[in-house]
Amino acid sequence: MSSEPVVQVRGLVKRYGTRTAVDGLDLEVAAGAVTAVLGPNGAGKTTTIETCEGYRRPDGGTVRVLGLDPVADAAALRPRIGVMLQSGGVYSGARAEEMLLHMAKLHADPLDVGALVERLGLGSCGRTTYRRLSGGQQQRLALAMAVVGRPELVFLDEPTAGLDPQARRSTWDLIRELRADGVSVVLTTHFMDEAEELADDVAVIDAGRVMAQGSPEQLCRGGAENTLRFTGRPGLDLGSLLKALPDGSEAAELTTGAYRITGQIDPELLATVTSWCAQHGVMPDGIAVERHTLEDVFLELTGKELRA
């Protein structure tokens, strides 16, 4: 596995008429990892992905996928990537298994179609025509079509949109199996939990730009502060507590006897708080550390809720 990034986007600009969908976007995708492009509807996720897939010609900037120009080198690139569109892509009269078999025939060394159909729980509807499949089944077929050619890199545009929780888990498992076998995965999502649970690397995008990129842990640690809460005797001397804590920490009694400390909450700070409580004869009931979620990070970066 090479250490070169599999996707390199620099200063990408894409306009539709007067609307700028992508506005100077930079993105690097590491080989062998799952990278989530996270953002609200209209943030430019699909435009970015579809530019990488060779569907759109950039108005500015450069895009390299597996070292190739997706438009100029399309013939060389297409056999090496797998693509799952946000919707459609199948003849309405084609049967699920028939379409998958067809995609397999376009590749030199495809996966076993029967096994893939079973793996994705499409066995019961293999003879059903596409237009009669449920939304979830259509999604899983599109996913199967993206991986059947044994690609090095797959682009999945909202792979779990409209899936029930069980099918969602099953899709996540498949994505993890792809990664374990050395396939690089780029997916777009507007689900926080999907990015948090699945991705090695998350690019938060809004208004056509990357606002932050890093592992979910890095993103959560970096931006927003974390919180420590406990309850105890009312009217504790918070001035004395603050003196024991590192600079930049804050402490407040929110309601009677309910305390909140914000700042860099690490094991040392926790030890300091509990030892201060011990010195002052305070039992800190319900002591809890609240880690910030990607949701908080996103709110802080963009000033908006991800899902309205």
Partner: protein
């Protein structure tokens, strides 16, 4: 599935295999579609049988089937290469099939080649069926089979260009409506079952320039009258082919 199942082994299948697979799939889709079969098989067959058996239209001297069979063959070509292909391709565009295949190893020209092969296979099936029925109705064709073949091929190219132009520029529903309307109008006004000389002189000269008129008239010259290659009709078809394919290549949108 066990570890290593998804280990990358990317690569395109050999081009002839991809194109053959695509053509086979397209043909299956067409033969599975009831509306398409109505258009390409049922209507031409019914018209051939009905108008040969019942003297509704004055087809001039001779057996009605000798007049009708060439026109119905022209209609068969139009139904598959133009109407059927326009509607199918329009909906493939609408449902993202063309888009998805655009990201597969099959190049676009390979997809178009496969579509053409699928049209040709369907036409062969139509022509075999209609020829057998026409013989059963007492058809006695004349002329050079190679002239017939050349006209059929030129007609196919001309109608394909126009069908793809429509499918690649209009919305799928508009294509559906327009392709059926054009089919109906050309069926009536293109010398298929109604001889063009039933129309006023001024109309005739315009109608004669339609691709369906050129094809049905050319086929009739050869098959009914035993004429040599009708170069005038072939030229009309060639002009339509160049205009249609040129415009389709210029304006076709894949999404």
């Amino acid at each position: 599935m066990s570890a290593g199942t998804y280990t990358p082994r990317p690569g395109a299948a050999p081009l002839p295999r991809m194109i053959a697979a695509q053509a086979a799939l397209e043909t299956r889709m067409l033969l599975r579609n009831g509306e398409q079969l109505l258009l390409t098989v049922v209507i031409p067959t019914l018209l051939l049988v009905l108008f040969s058996a019942v003297d509704i239209v004055d087809t001039g001297a001779g057996e009605p089937v000798d007049f009708l069979a060439p026109g119905i063959l022209a209609l068969a070509v139009m139904s598959t290469a133009f109407t059927g292909q326009a509607i199918a391709t329009g909906f493939e565009r609408r449902y993202g099939v063309l888009k998805r295949l655009g990201a597969s190893p099959l190049p676009r020209w390979g997809l178009m080649t496969a579509k053409t092969l699928s049209v040709l296979v369907t036409e062969v099936l139509q022509i075999v069926l209609l020829t057998v029925i026409a013989f059963a109705l007492g058809w006695s064709p004349e002329g050079n089979p190679f002239a017939v073949l050349l006209l059929l091929v030129l007609g196919t190219v001309a109608f394909s260009g126009l069908g793809l132009l429509m499918a690649g520029t209009l919305k799928a529903e508009a294509t559906l409506a327009a392709a059926n309307l054009v089919f109906l109008l050309l069926l009536v006004g293109g010398g298929v079952i109604v001889p063009l000389d039933k129309f006023p002189d001024a109309a005739q000269s315009v109608l004669g320039l339609l691709p369906i008129s050129a094809l049905s008239d050319g086929l009739r010259d050869v098959l009914q009258h035993g004429a040599a290659m009708p170069w005038g009709d072939a030229a009309v078809l060639a002009v339509w082919a160049v205009l249609g394919l040129g415009a389709a290549a210029r304006f076709f949108r894949w999404e």
